[in-house]
């Protein structure tokens, strides 16, 4: 590459010509049958065949790097990479411009690079266009030949290191592209324009390497999510181990599944994440005494996958000596105890454990080990009483698996159980690990159909599942979402599944507006105060505060790590605090039913804390946590907030700060998509008096915040997004409210009965007068309307004085309400 442009071109031409000449010569020499030509022809043919077979290979392989001495990184470049580098150099020398950009453009001629960008939901043609635009910019950077040579060295060295990390044979174009994206400022800028960072590119390039990496990393074994049920078909069973030191275990085989057989058949063993848990489990199983491990984690978190991986490693002899050449057998407790009375159960268990002891090479796995302790109807299922002493007495390795709820309910209480097993917690894998797992999972699934899944779709599925679908842990939840989206894509003949489609499917499932606000929603958000005021009178500060929070949330500017907003509405009773919450619930969340309402006056004692997050026995769900788990996007209304016990209020410190809380079953409940409104009547007299004294709302709010420490801890008050003071209602306000409620009644009657009603001003004023109470605000209005309007109307309907199609005018005169039926 140190030749001039002309020199390089001449070398290329002569190489091509030489290849043609040698090929022709070999052909002619071999066919000539002249010995003097025949044998040289064979030599030539061998040389050409070798060149042909190695046309995609570099001069030397990375897997055989010398340990000492200097090496020339260029020897490890694949011919494609070298071509790209040379091609870019030629163009840069002729047309000037940034060498990095010319190289990026050259690399886009390779399918694996194009494919990687397609995986990132980026059209390669758009990227090339962007590169061309940058190249066309004036003034063009002047790079001397020395500078370019130095630059090439930097890029090659970076790509070289990357290839070693990826255990490649040669430095491939995808490695050069990665190096370029990492160290080139111009290329990084272009990637940033398309929302790509080096980590995204790294993962997308896995797709580009696809077959080689896939086969190497999985070793040809299949990926399973959700256990090994039904995996036994076509699997050869080994009754004894390879060293013939064990014995057959016919009874155990009858009630169990041999995981090592399944692993040997390549149907299990793939593991991503959980490395520490796996290592810990192996250490526990390999120790001399009490080699029993209890895997504790939510269903679907990967306990059985870890056990499957152990089975696979046993078949590959990649385990400590204590676990060498063993069989890992899963015991099915339910089949063991079915159709067995007590003596039969005892006999079966004794026989199984006798076989295990005699065999000497069994690792026993008991999934759902809590079933041993579970009682069943009239007959006590006392398998635990029989099996546990046997496990404790014998030193063969045992693995148990259970969930947090069952652990608390059945295992924790049993001291023998706790003594016998070392508990190892299995947490959900991280998002990065889930993405990697799903890349391999999707690559396998893509074999069976033609819909391509982009990396963005996988990442979006993982992020959305982590946020909104908490019923199952990762990667199961993300896998479910991906498969659902995939089914939709197949039905709609979509060739490429993108992140947008995943978002659409997720929104349909959760009713949470995941996407940015569309035009219609944006209009609604910008005018939300007007919409609210169609049903709520006055209280402008409160309405503005709510509107601001919602606009910030939907534009992505709200604080991360907490609820959308947490408000404390303070004011006298009956002034609209709860009404605002209901209106907001209907406008933003779809209906009033989307609201989670908790009356905090029911939590006045210390022990009531458990009712909010669930009882520790798992018998009762949390009155706060369960509804939010089911509807993560909702409004949470905490009425009479000041009446709750201080310990109960402490729960909200974490909710307001982190937006999450752990329930009694150890599940993390996410409040990040909730609006929390707490209402309180604290210091309502002070508010009323201050308003009467003519103080502004700002002054009242400031003073009130200082006074509220009488009821709430300062750290709790600080965590509210806003403390909003509700004013007492004036007569005019109450009239307006009466008018709204009467209009609502008229609308309801029109829709249900076909009866139109109109209310004269005098009637409205009288309803307002009767329905207002300084102590209760506008709360008595509903009862007043019911007594003076609804009840008489109901009587007239029943007497058929008012029928469908009637028009009724309601007035007030001579101390009574008049109902004029016009037609």
């Amino acid at each position: 590459m140190r030749l001039s442009v002309i020199g390089q071109s001449l070398v290329k031409v002569f190489r091509f010509a030489a290849t043609l000449v040698f090929s022709a010569a070999a052909f002619i020499f071999i066919l000539s049958k002249v010995p003097e030509l025949f044998w040289p022809g064979i030599i030539l043919a061998l040389y050409l065949a070798s060149s042909f077979l190695r046309q995609d290979s570099g001069r030397r392989e990375l897997t055989r790097l010398p340990q000492k001495g200097r090496i020339n990184a260029a020897d490890y470049l694949s011919p494609s990479s070298l071509d790209a580098l040379s091609d870019a150099l030629r163009k840069q020398q002729v047309m000037s411009g940034d060498y990095d950009l010319w190289l990026a453009k050259s690399l886009f001629e390779f399918p694996e690079v194009i494919w990687a960008f397609e995986r990132l939901d980026v059209e390669p043609a758009e990227v090339i266009q962007k590169i061309n635009d940058h190249l066309a910019r004036e003034p063009k950077p002047k790079q001397t030949r020395e500078e370019v040579d130095k630059r090439i060295e930097e890029i090659v060295m970076r790509a070289f290191e990357k290839s070693i990390d990826e255990v490649s044979n040669y430095v491939m174009p995808v490695d050069v592209m990665w190096a370029l994206a990492t160290i080139s400022e111009n290329c990084s800028k272009i990637c940033a324009l398309f929302g790509i960072d080096s980590e995204d590119l790294d993962e997308a390039l896995i797709f580009g390497r696809v077959k080689k990496v896939f086969k190497r990393k999985t070793g040809g074994i299949s990926i399973t999510i959700g256990g090994l049920a039904g995996q036994m078909s076509g699997v050869r069973h080994r009754t004894v181990n390879r060293s013939w030191t064990s014995r057959p275990t016919p009874t155990l085989d009858m009630f169990g599944t041999d995981f090592t057989d399944i692993a040997r058949a390549g149907q299990t063993g793939f593991l991503i994440g959980h490395e520490r848990v796996y290592q810990r489990m192996v250490n526990v199983l390999g120790r001399g005494s009490r080699p029993n491990a209890l895997l504790l984690g939510l269903p679907g978190v990967g306990k059985e996958t870890i056990v499957g991986h152990l089975a696979y490693m046993i078949t590959r002899d990649k385990v400590p000596l204590a676990l060498f050449d063993k069989r890992l057998v899963s015991l099915d407790v339910s089949s063991l105890v079915s159709n067995a009375d007590q003596p039969e159960l005892q006999r079966r268990i004794n026989q199984i454990f006798h076989e295990i002891q005699m065999a000497g090479n069994i690792i026993l796995y008991i999934p759902n080990i809590h079933n041993l302790s579970r009682t069943s109807g009239e007959r006590q299922l006392s398998a635990a009483n029989i099996i546990l002493p046997l496990i404790i007495a014998n030193d063969f390795p045992t693995i148990g698996a259970t969930g947090p709820q069952e652990y608390r309910e059945y295992v924790e209480k049993d001291s023998a159980f706790m003594d016998a097993f070392e508990t190892i917690r299995v947490e959900e894998i991280s998002e990065d690990e889930a993405v990697r797992f799903l890349i391999y999972d999707m690559l396998m699934s893509e074999k069976n159909n033609r819909t391509m899944i982009s990396l963005g779709a996988i990442k979006t599925a993982v992020a959305l599942s982590r946020k909104y679908f908490r019923e199952k842990p990762l990667p199961s939840s993300a896998s479910d979402l991906l498969h659902e989206a995939w089914a939709w894509a197949l039905e709609n003949k979509v060739k490429r599944l993108t992140s947008e489609m995943i978002v659409k499917i997720a929104e349909q499932k959760t009713n949470i507006p995941v996407r940015k606000a569309g035009r219609e929603e944006a209009e609604q958000l910008l005018n939300i105060e007007s919409l609210i005021h169609q049903r709520l009178v006055d209280q402008d500060e409160a309405v503005s505060a709510v509107g601001r929070s919602l606009r910030e949330y939907r534009s992505g500017l709200s604080r991360k790590g907490g609820p959308i907003a947490a408000f404390l509405f303070v004011g006298p009773t009956g002034v609209g605090k709860t009404e605002l919450a209901k209106i907001l619930s209907e406008i933003q969340f779809g209906s009033e039913d989307a609201m989670v309402r908790v009356d905090m006056s029911e939590y006045q004692d210390e022990s009531s804390y458990g009712r909010l997050i669930g009882a520790s026995g798992g018998n009762m769900g949390g009155m706060l946590t369960d509804p939010v788990r089911q509807k993560p996007y909702s409004l949470v209304l905490l009425d009479e907030f000041e009446k709750a016990h201080p310990d109960v209020l402490n729960l909200f410190l974490q909710i307001f700060d982190d937006g999450r809380v752990t329930d009694a079953l150890g599940r993390v409940v996410d409040f990040e998509n909730t609006i929390i409104i707490a209402t309180s009547n604290a210091h309502s007299t002070f508010i009323k008096n201050s308003i009467d004294e003519g103080k502004t709302m700002a002054m009242i709010t400031d003073e009130l915040k200082r006074k509220l420490v009488d009821y709430f801890k300062p750290e709790l008050l600080n965590r509210f997004s806003e403390i909003v003071v509700f004013k007492s209602l004036s007569e005019k306000d109450v009239e307006a409210i009466a008018g709204l409620q009467l209009s609502s009644l008229a609308k309801s009657l029109d829709e249900s009965q076909g009866i139109s009603m109109r209310f004269e001003e005098a009637a409205v004023k009288e309803i307002a007068r009767l329905g207002y109470d300084p102590a209760f605000g506008a709360r008595p209005l509903r009862e007043t309307i019911s007594k003076h309007i609804k009840s008489p109307i109901a009587e007239k309907i029943l007497k058929e004085e008012i029928k469908r199609g009637s028009e009724v005018a309601v007035g007030f005169a001579e101390g009574g309400f008049k109902f004029d039926i016009i037609k």
């Binding site: 030749l3 001039s4 002309i6 020199g7 390089q8 001449l10 070398v11 002569f14 190489r15 010995p35 003097e36 025949f38 044998w39 040289p40 064979i42 030599i43 061998l46 040389y47 070798s50 060149s51 190695r54 001069r59 392989e61 055989r64 004894v240 181990n241 390879r242 060293s243 013939w244 030191t245 064990s246 014995r247 040997r264 078949t315 002899d317 060498f324 050449d325 005699m358 065999a359 000497g360």
Partner: protein, 121 residues
């Protein structure tokens, strides 16, 4: 004129690469295949594992018969595995030697065709 020197140098480099690939890269390739094949065989013949448990009783029969029969049976197995593995290794070596001899033999045949007698073979 640099390009001419480069082209000539390239010619010799390519010949060197050809010989390196033919002799060294192919050696590593064949060695890898042989090792993988032996590992695959070991999953059935289990030489390593059998040797580790050579003196253990057969099928956990902890009596004279179990120890004796175990020793005899495992010895037979080890011997058989050694023979099979040796055959595989020798076969791989023969294949490699034949492979390595091919270019030399072709050169010899060429020289013979031109009447240049050699005593190499």
């Amino acid at each position: 004129m640099d390009w001419i020197f480069y082209f000539v140098r390239l010619f010799f480099v390519r010949i060197g690469d050809f010989l390196r690939h033919w002799y060294i890269s192919s050696f590593y390739l064949l060695a890898d295949w042989t090792v993988k094949f032996l590992e695959w065989l070991d999953r059935s013949l289990a030489l390593k594992v059998t040797a580790r448990y050579w003196l253990h009783p057969l099928y956990q029969e902890r009596n004279v018969l179990g120890y004796l029969v175990g020793f005899v049976v495992r010895t037979i197995r080890i011997v058989f595995a050694v023979i099979v593995y040796s055959f595989v290794i020798v076969f791989a070596a023969v294949v490699y030697l034949a492979w390595a001899a091919v270019p030399l033999w072709l050169v010899y045949k060429t020289l013979e065709a031109y009447g240049i007698k050699t005593d190499i073979f």
